[in-house]
């Protein structure tokens, strides 16, 4: 696996990270969803994702861990401190010397500052906090850092996006760059922009993370999905966010 990735990186060294989707032709998943799904998302009183946002709001003020501190104790009112935060993730973590996504950032706060156990991937509490933080970026443009330290990870993400994989031997780009707007199994293929995560996916009947959705895509082409939190998964998230630079966030979105 490593050898293949290294070979892939070498091949991709000269490849430009250019979205096949022309910047002004970019449309969010919302545009590809049915009117009923859009209506469900738009109304805060009917959007099931708001159940998690509400839960996240409670957790924000709840003291946790051996340090007995809450998010609020350090970050104050999330409406102010978290405004725009989710739009900048994945972000580079200087200590780990690699990018981490929002879920990992929340868990780093838990372990390093609250001195609490990290929250499990796709656990209700982690989804709730992620949804609550992401909600504070609603309507704000995606603005991940363009710093040079992220370059190698962005390149890896771009390479993975174009890498054929699985029994079906398909790359993300083949559906989401080349065939968006066409139908696949009764759904319209979106462009694959992560503006609405964490998302209430009707298929899951629950809120879920971007990593969960990417794992579904990989299972969909019959490839072994990345482990939760794997560096490849975060690199791909970073690439997707860069590809969606400037598009407004709409978390928690509702999708089929």
């Amino acid at each position: 696996m490593r050898a293949l990735l290294a070979a892939g990186l070498a091949l991709a060294a000269a490849a430009a990270v250019e979205a096949e989707v022309v910047p002004d032709a970019r449309r969010p998943g919302y545009d590809f969803a049915s009117p009923e799904i859009r209506a469900m998302q738009d109304d805060e009183t009917t959007n099931p994702g708001m159940l998690w946002v509400s839960q996240g709001e409670s957790l924000w003020s709840k003291k946790a861990g051996a340090a007995a501190v809450s998010c609020e104790d350090c970050h104050g009112d999330a409406r102010a401190s978290m405004k725009g935060a989710a739009a900048r993730y994945p972000a580079f973590d200087a200590v780990l010397a690699r990018p981490i996504d929002l879920e990992q950032r929340i868990n780093r706060c838990r372990t390093e500052h609250q001195r609490a156990e990290p929250l499990g991937w796709e656990s209700d509490d982690l989804l709730a906090l992620t949804a609550f933080v992401a909600r504070q970026s609603h309507g704000l443009p995606i603005a991940v850092s363009a710093g040079p330290e992220l370059r190698p990870f962005l390149d890896l993400g771009g390479e993975l996006f174009s890498l054929r994989e699985g029994q079906l031997n398909l790359a993300c780009s083949q559906c989401h760059d080349d065939n968006w707007g066409k139908s696949l199994a009764g759904n319209v293929i979106p462009q694959g922009h992560p503006t609405g995560y964490p998302v209430y996916r009707l298929e899951w009947q629950s809120l879920g993370s971007l990593q969960r959705r990417l794992r579904n895509c990989m299972t969909g082409v019959r490839a072994e999905p990345f482990d939760y939190g794997a560096p490849e998964a975060v690199a791909l998230e970073l690439y997707l966010m860069e590809r969606a630079r400037g598009m407004p966030m709409d978390a928690p979105a509702v999708r089929p």
Partner: protein, 106 residues
């Protein structure tokens, strides 16, 4: 205690018909699904929802597995007097969750 979102105008004119929207976090496990090992996942649904207005039942719903997860139910009632709206969700095992909200009539 499942997370709940209840929305209705907290102030209304006497005689006004108000719409009440309710959303509760619950998997509504149908009993027809199987897990990774092929074992049936037992049914676990909210089967009954009621709304009482100052003690009088104004709305009741019997729910079946065909109701989606995280059930959303919107209904209306006439704003008659100030007081309490009591919402109750009961599951197959008789476990009940109750939420109380105030309403003020002008």
């Amino acid at each position: 205690m499942a997370r709940v979102l209840i929305n209705f105008p907290q102030r209304a004119k006497r005689g006004e018909i108000i719409e009440i929207k309710t959303l509760i976090q619950h998997p509504m496990e149908t009993g027809y699904r199987v897990d990774n090992r092929g074992a049936k996942i037992p049914r676990d649904i909210i089967s009954r929802f009621t709304c009482a207005y100052n003690g009088d039942e104004v709305f009741r719903a019997e729910l079946f597995p065909a109701i989606s997860a995280n059930p959303f139910i919107a209904f209306s009632t006439v704003a008659t007097e100030s007081g309490e709206l009591v919402f109750s969700w009961t599951d197959d095992n008789g476990q009940m969750q109750t939420e109380i909200r105030q309403i003020t009539i002008e």
